[in-house]
């Protein structure tokens, strides 16, 4: 690798590797050692390419994309070369086919699990947590009591309440939203309470010299100071919300929903569809996280963690 780093003239090098690689692909070999070698060569070529790319100005965007592409290519190749049965690991192409064939079904699942279960629960849970935090932050006593308890509860396996809540709220989306509310509440609460307290004596004194009323202090100082913490909690909560909504469906659901789809299709050993459902969940999770991160960037541009990055 260090040889490549010193070699600034990358094009002939990569081209050379490609020239070596092509014959290996043209002559099909039966021995598995050959197959492993092929995988290795593809990996090395793409990694070298990525090494070069990472030093250009497109690096921050192109490198992760190429890395993801590399993994997909290797996955597809491994599935084909070693004839891995699709029951164990379907190739990405089969997953893509399953995704396009089941679009209508997965769309219904998505609405049931993500929109009705996860998003509604996430909104209710986060709103309740932030409201509670605003009340709690007024009293130092409550804050000192609630923070350790909240931290403790946030570390608990709350997913375990899913069977109880499904028993209480029935099989519909309401029980999934309830699980999400419970899962989301404490991480957001703890983060918000910690954030509201994260002001320095200097800042508080400044508000006092300005003659700010308590409401003004809360709005201009505490809530602003709490925003990075709140967003941290909200980002953790997006992942938890999806997990909660999907896992709650294992304990009882109508005949649609991502969790239901995953558990029934696993039972039928229809793995490409399972992976398609997982892809839907993963893309949803990434987008949701991305949206929250974008809003965070807009609102907390002043925070050190947001400075100095693109």
């Amino acid at each position: 690798m260090s040889w490549a780093r010193r070699n600034q003239n990358w094009l002939p090098w990569v081209g050379g590797t490609a020239l070596v690689a092509i014959p290996i692909f043209l002559f099909p070999a039966a021995a598995p050692a050959w197959d492993i070698l092929r995988l290795l060569i593809v990996w090395v070529v793409l990694w070298q390419w990525n090494t070069y790319l990472s030093r250009t100005r497109f690096g921050p965007i192109a490198s992760p994309l190429l890395f993801g592409l590399t993994l997909l290519i290797l996955w597809e190749m491994a599935c084909r070369l070693f004839a891995i049965p699709s029951v164990i690991l379907p190739p990405p192409s089969a997953i893509a086919v399953a995704l396009s064939e089941n679009t209508a079904i997965l769309w219904g699942d998505w609405i049931q699990t993500v929109l009705k279960g996860a998003v509604s629960g996430w909104l209710i849970g986060s709103a309740a947590a932030i409201a509670t935090a605003l009340l709690v932050a007024r009293s130092d006593f409550l804050r000192r009591g609630l923070l350790p308890v909240g931290n403790f509860v946030a570390a608990l396996p709350i997913v375990g309440t899913a069977p109880i809540l499904v028993m209480w709220f029935g099989f519909g989306w309401e029980s999934k939203a309830a699980v999400v509310v419970v899962m989301v509440f404490f991480p957001v609460l703890v983060n918000t309470v910690a954030g509201l307290a994260d002001t320095t004596a200097m800042q508080r004194d400044l508000m006092r010299t300005y003659g700010a009323t308590p409401t003004q202090t809360l709005r201009l100082l505490n809530i602003t100071a709490a925003l990075p913490f709140v967003f941290n909690g909200l980002k953790i909560a997006t992942t938890l919300a999806l997990i909660g909504a999907i896992v709650a469906e294992f304990f009882g659901s109508p005949t649609f929903g991502l969790g239901f789809r995953i558990s029934t299709e696993v039972g039928r050993l229809n793995l490409p569809t399972v992976w398609a459902a997982i892809t839907v969940a993963a893309v949803t999770g990434s987008l949701w996280y991305g949206i929250i991160a974008l809003i965070e960037k807009r609102l907390t541009f002043w925070h050190p963690s947001q400075r100095g990055r693109g």
Binding site: A155, L156, P163
Partner: protein, 334 residues
């Protein structure tokens, strides 16, 4: 030495407390008081919630014993809310709220009682012993935690030393956590089962997947924590990257490591518990939860849940103790 540490042979030595202990004890009410108040409030709320939650069942029991209840038939009561029922026949609803056999919401003392009988009251070998179930869940938790932490540390070392890995792997490590791994849990277990891998390993893999991420993120931060001047000093000594890693970066990262290990061990426990759901496992904390939900044994569900909570607390506390001892010996914590 604390201020009032006296020689061992001095008159009055050994009476009273040493300065350090006294200081710790003096701070105790300040810290414990609010926590106890919050816990007491939560328990009171719980008891209060039991009344409307269990009213439906309570009035049915009362009716069976021939006691008059206000909406006389179960038909009329079915569509009423718990609060309305509790207000209609308060005495019966309150009297029967806390001791039902299969309540919708068991009262705290019922859960504590069940916890006590299923841990202390039974032999560890008994099939209903919660200690045995906790032990069965603990094995994949610890194995997965070990694998996940080591993988997380290795990944962090790679990310810190290679710009390419930082650029290309880190975004995917973050993206990997937006995949609801618990949704994949059934698949991992069924698939590994089909190729003949059973027992602890599949659950440990799920635990490892959940616990690697906090360790990676924490260690990347920790390994980058040494100041520029410290790193420059290593460079002036012509230290190799490995030497810098071992003597500077790793020791500096320890506080970050412990903080993330605490998160990771709790996540590993969640992974092991959820890993028990799809297999229809007969033993383990997750299996107790599942069996309880199948047979409507609410008290059993709640005690399994609290059992899991206690195990999580013990695991986190253990790491906390190791953290304290280690950091103290390194002179990083007072």
């Amino acid at each position: 030495m604390a201020i009032d540490d006296t020689p061992l042979s001095a008159p009055g030595a050994g009476i009273g407390r040493s300065g350090k202990v006294a200081l710790a004890l003096r701070g105790l009410p300040h810290r414990i008081g609010p926590v106890l108040a919050v816990i007491a409030a939560l328990i009171a709320l719980w008891y209060l919630a039991c009344i409307p939650m269990n009213a439906q069942n309570a009035l049915m029991l009362a009716e069976r014993e021939g006691i008059a209840v206000t909406p006389a038939t179960a038909q009329e009561r079915r569509d009423m809310s718990g609060i309305a029922l509790a207000l209609a026949t308060p005495d019966q609803a309150v009297a029967r709220a806390f001791g039902q056999d299969r309540p919708r919401l068991p009262s705290p003392h019922q859960v504590v009682e069940e916890l006590w009988t299923s841990t202390v009251g039974l032999k560890v070998t008994s099939k209903r012993s919660l200690v045995r179930h906790a032990g069965i869940t603990l094995a994949p938790t610890l194995l997965g935690f070990l694998i996940g932490s080591l993988a997380g540390i290795a990944l962090a070392v790679g990310i810190v030393h290679s710009r390419l890995m930082d650029l290309s792997v880190m975004p995917w490590a973050i993206a990997s956590q937006t995949i609801p791994i618990l949704a994949i849990a059934p698949m991992i277990i069924v698939v590994l089962n089909s190729i003949g891998i059973q027992g602890v390993l599949p659950k440990a893999i799920i635990s490892a997947y959940l616990s690697f991420f906090p360790v990676t993120v924490g260690m990347v931060k920790g390994l980058r924590a040494p100041s520029a001047s410290d790193l420059d000093l290593m460079r002036t000594w012509n230290a190799s990257a490995l030497r810098t890693l071992l003597t500077l970066r790793l020791p500096t990262s320890l506080p970050y490591l412990f903080a993330s290990l605490k998160i990771a061990v709790a996540a590993a426990l969640v992974g092991a518990i959820v890993g028990e759901f799809p297999t229809g496992a007969v033993s383990g904390l997750g299996a107790r939860l599942l069996a309880g939900s199948y047979y409507g044994q609410t008290v059993q569900i709640w005690s399994a849940l609290f059992g899991a909570a206690i195990v999580a607390a013990l695991l986190v506390a253990t790491i906390g103790v190791i953290q304290r001892v280690t950091l103290k010996r390194m002179g990083l914590a007072g």
